[in-house]
């Protein structure tokens, strides 16, 4: 017979095991290691399936949704084909809340939202715990760890509080790791220099070209010219968009 969530959380290796996985995640050298660690964590937590989903406004044109999957990956293909990201009640919750929640407490308001929930259920998230992890205020970036079970009501159990505690730490670590990846991707993609980052930081603080020029002992024309090159590197059309992109990717 399958152990209950309470029995699983009372096992001596539950918290130390998840703590160790969280620690290893911080030291993970690549994405494949993190994918494997999420699967290990799900197993230890008694979940049948798990996914870490993150969202970000990539640039003026694209929104990105990233999934690290420890579940049937066909779910994610179906999710994409049905454009579920536009009607996902779990993601909507994670946008506005930081408290972990059981999925059945989030009402699906539309037929499309019902469809997204039904799809998740079909792929093993019959009952689920959603643990949001958010970026600082003003950024679109967010993440949510979803632990799922094929058993209805599996997480409605006295063991939930301990699982929630461990899952919150895990979600935060996954989000931190994701931001570090994004930062590395943008640095590589745009080949940003320390001077570029200084300029972005000045813009973030609202400094005009003249002020920046004074601060770094150059001319406003040189600053404007630098901005043109920097915008081109980042693939954006304005200073504000450049700062927004750098902030979303955790550079400033």
């Amino acid at each position: 017979m399958r152990p209950t969530l309470q029995q699983i959380t009372q096992q001596p290796d539950f918290l130390p095991g998840l703590a160790l996985i969280t620690q290893r995640m911080a030291q993970a050298s690549d994405s494949s290691e993190v994918t494997a660690l999420l699967a290990e964590a799900a197993l230890l937590a008694g979940a049948d399936v798990a996914a870490f989903a993150s969202f970000m406004q990539d640039d003026e044109f694209y929104e990105s949704y990233r999934f690290i999957l420890a579940c049937d990956p066909l779910w994610c293909l179906a999710y994409e084909n049905d454009a579920c990201y536009m009607h996902d009640p779990w993601l909507t919750y994670a946008r506005h809340h930081s408290e972990p929640v059981l999925a059945h407490r989030l009402p699906a308001k539309t037929n499309k939202e019902h469809g997204v929930r039904a799809l998740a259920s079909e792929y093993g998230f019959v009952s689920a715990l959603i643990v949001p992890s958010q970026a600082p205020h003003g950024l679109t970036r967010l993440g949510a760890l979803c632990l799922g079970s094929r058993e209805p009501g599996y997480f409605d159990d006295p063991g939930l509080s301990l699982l929630t505690f461990a899952a919150t730490v895990l979600a935060m670590r996954l989000h931190e790791w994701q931001v570090a990846q994004l930062r590395s991707e943008l640095l590589q993609y745009a080949a940003l220099t320390p001077d570029d980052l200084t300029l972005l930081q000045h813009q973030l603080e609202g400094h005009k070209s003249k002020e920046v020029a004074r601060a770094i002992n150059t001319t406003p024309i040189a600053i404007d010219s630098h901005w043109q090159r920097l915008n081109a590197k980042l693939g954006v059309t304005s200073r504000l968009a450049a700062v927004r992109r750098a902030a979303e990717y955790g550079l400033i």
């Binding site: 999957l69 066909l74 590589q188």
Partner: protein, 109 residues
Amino acid sequence: MKKLKPTLISADADKDGIVLRSEDGRLFYWLRATRAGLWVQRDRRRQDSRARLVQSHMFCTDAAFARWCNADTVRFDYPVIFVKLQREGRALLKGHEHAPDTATDHAAT
């Protein structure tokens, strides 16, 4: 079809593993062999909804990988990439036991 700027990908992708990119810049795969199996990152930008979806998963068996490949509309939209994906994925899975790492495959086989 409009060609997009290159997708932002990990700096490690070209150094470690196999990278497959579509010519229009909308589809990207990164495959790596690990001791636990085949790790795949699929990155697709949808023109219709301005959404980019990136999914990472570990496959332990050839059957699970084939099932995932065959369920993807990429099969029809990018047939050349699809064939390469299957070939490279299978080849990496064959020798994955000698690579480092651990994981569990949750895909139904």
